[in-house]
Amino acid sequence: MRKLFMVCLVVLLVAVGCGSKEATVAPQPTTTESKGVYYLLTVNLHDPFHIPGIKGFTQAGVDLGIKTEVVGPTEYSLSEQLKTFETLIANPTTAGIHYQPIDLVAGEPMIEAAQAKGIPVTISLSNTPGKARSAFIGYDNVMFGGAAGEWIAELTDCKGTVGALGNSGPTVIIRIEAMFAYLAERCPDIKIVPFVTTDANLASGVATLEAYLVANPDMTLFWYADGLSGQLAPYWKDRQDLGSKTMFLATDMPPAALQAVKDGVFVGTVGQDTYSVEYFGLQLLYQASQGMRVPDTTLMAPILVDKSNVDQFIE
């Protein structure tokens, strides 16, 4: 039953406030719209996590018959992203911007500026508190952590010791805390050990994980709650070969992580379907640009990938 949250496109429409919302931009004639360019403004063009999303956005453009372009910084640089945002607003051919904010608050004035010029802005990844945007589509970190917690409860039968680690970004911390909160409520007998954070590099991840396991030798399962986890697959296989019985639950779906799930190195991975997020993100953006009503907030369900369904994602 816990193959649960499964394949994601089923989506919760949370209308924080309710249901749908009228696009805040003035509708324009379709002919003009279709001549413009719809942009995906990414957080980092070079992060492999976003590559499927870029493909999804581009494919949606093909399916809709509209022109799309992908822009953004090549590293996590807020200033570079905002500069690009300004350029897009100033560009008269911009028909819409699908925006992945690096900073929730810093992007808000840009969104307002774009809307004031009649350019609709939809966002993904991180919802902005100001809600100036036309629509949000993506994941809720509390829900993401809760889904991981529910799966962990099943994998451990609510017994043993569970831990977590990941980088110190707020996204990761919120997920881990939500996972622990779920377990604390659902599995009172499970022992939860405080989570630890790592620098966002492999060497630090391994060093931290090894110390974590020394301090908690009876760990039943731990969740590596950021996308670096896939890179630890070969290392973890080596450790398994030396007799480790601890279960490794990964995050996200890079090829290495999926292969590790298939090979039984990872017990599973909690994935985000960035392809679908950005595919439907462009659909929302296009609808908003046409003056159609779009849902204010669209939350995607996390994908739980284990041996039983990993093949479809590898494909």
């Binding site: 391994v206 020394v214 070969p234």
Partner: protein, 310 residues
């Protein structure tokens, strides 16, 4: 020498306290964790110490490590015999070292800008080559270079000890050591005294580049994966460890032993935060505080010495 004694005292004292607070700290498993994960950093901090003592530094290390691992990794995946891939990887460090050396020493471009540029270039090429997807799954014969164990101990430390020992020996017992200290103390005076500062400086950058490449290869062998994020952030940790260990950022002072002790001390603290289950959010603040104390104590020491001389 005083700094070394202080660090030894600090490391022993901290270890004693930690062994009381955590039953896991002085276990064989944890010591192996510390040793395994410090080994490559020991090699890197030895090279960085040479540069710092000579009044130079290199911010490109992370980038060279990444590009080396990726170059060798991609070649191996495409079927190139691993020894050739290793040679190609070492070539990356050689070229990066030459460029760093020539730009900083010959063209006198600020080391901060020059080496950071090389880091960017290496990181950019790494991303361009991989499209951000890390190559993995290397030949087993190559993996042995980073995974071979002797009595539970990974081979990594067996690379580090001879390198650090040789570097330390050359620094204190060789002509080259005198030249490095002289160059760091006063580059013009060293030049007037007959030290070929251009050749020495370029040579030190080449050495650092080769060390970085070696680390990139061994990390790729150890983790069976190579990528841009393998050691991202290590360079600043190396500089911090060297400064804590007594290397002066102005050049002319420091030892390899001190830098390694600085690294050991930092690694113990990070390890302790995990073992004791302390809030990880404070980790960087603690390390930063120690670094600040080390830099301030160095400055105060210099000031006191000047006052005495006056």
């Amino acid at each position: 020498m005083k700094r070394i004694l202080v660090l030894i005292f600090l490391i022993i004292g901290t270890s004693l306290v930690l062994s009381i607070l955590s039953p896991y700290f002085l276990t064989k498993d944890n010591i192996l964790v510390l040793v395994d994960n410090m080994a490559m950093e020991i090699i890197a901090v030895s090279g960085m110490s040479f540069l710092l003592i000579a009044g130079l530094f290199d911010l490109s290390v992370d980038g060279v490590v990444a590009l080396t691992g990726i170059t060798a990794g991609m070649l191996m995946i495409q079927g190139t015999p691993w020894p050739l891939a290793v040679l190609a990887g070492m070539l990356v460090g050689l070229v990066a070292g030459i460029i760093n050396g020539v730009t900083v020493i010959h063209f006198r471009i600020n080391a901060f800008i020059a080496t950071m540029t090389i880091w960017w270039i290496c990181a950019g090429i790494s991303l361009g080559l991989t499209k951000a997807l890390s190559p993995y799954g290397f030949p087993e014969a190559f993996q042995v270079l980073g995974q071979y164990r002797i009595g539970g101990l990974k081979i990594l430390i067996l690379y580090a000890i001879p390198v650090a020992a040789y570097m330390s020996f050359k620094l204190h017992r060789g002509v080259i050591g005198n030249h490095i200290y002289a160059m760091g103390g006063n580059r013009e005076a060293a030049y007037l005294a007959g030290v070929n500062v251009t050749r020495l400086g370029i040579g030190l950058y080449i050495l650092m580049g080769l060390f970085a490449s070696f680390i990139g290869l061994i990390m790729a062998a150890r983790f069976n994966v190579s990528g841009i994020t393998v050691v991202d952030g290590m360079t600043l940790k190396l500089v911090a460890a060297a400064v804590i260990g007594g290397c002066s950022l102005e050049g002319g002072g420091g030892t390899i032993v001190g830098s390694i002790l600085g690294l050991v001390f930092m690694s113990i603290l990070v390890n302790a935060i995990v073992l004791l289950g302390l809030s990880p959010f404070w980790q960087k603040a603690i390390i930063g505080g120690i670094l600040l104390a080390a830099v301030l104590s160095e400055k105060i020491k210099i000031k006191l010495r000047r006052n005495e001389n006056a």
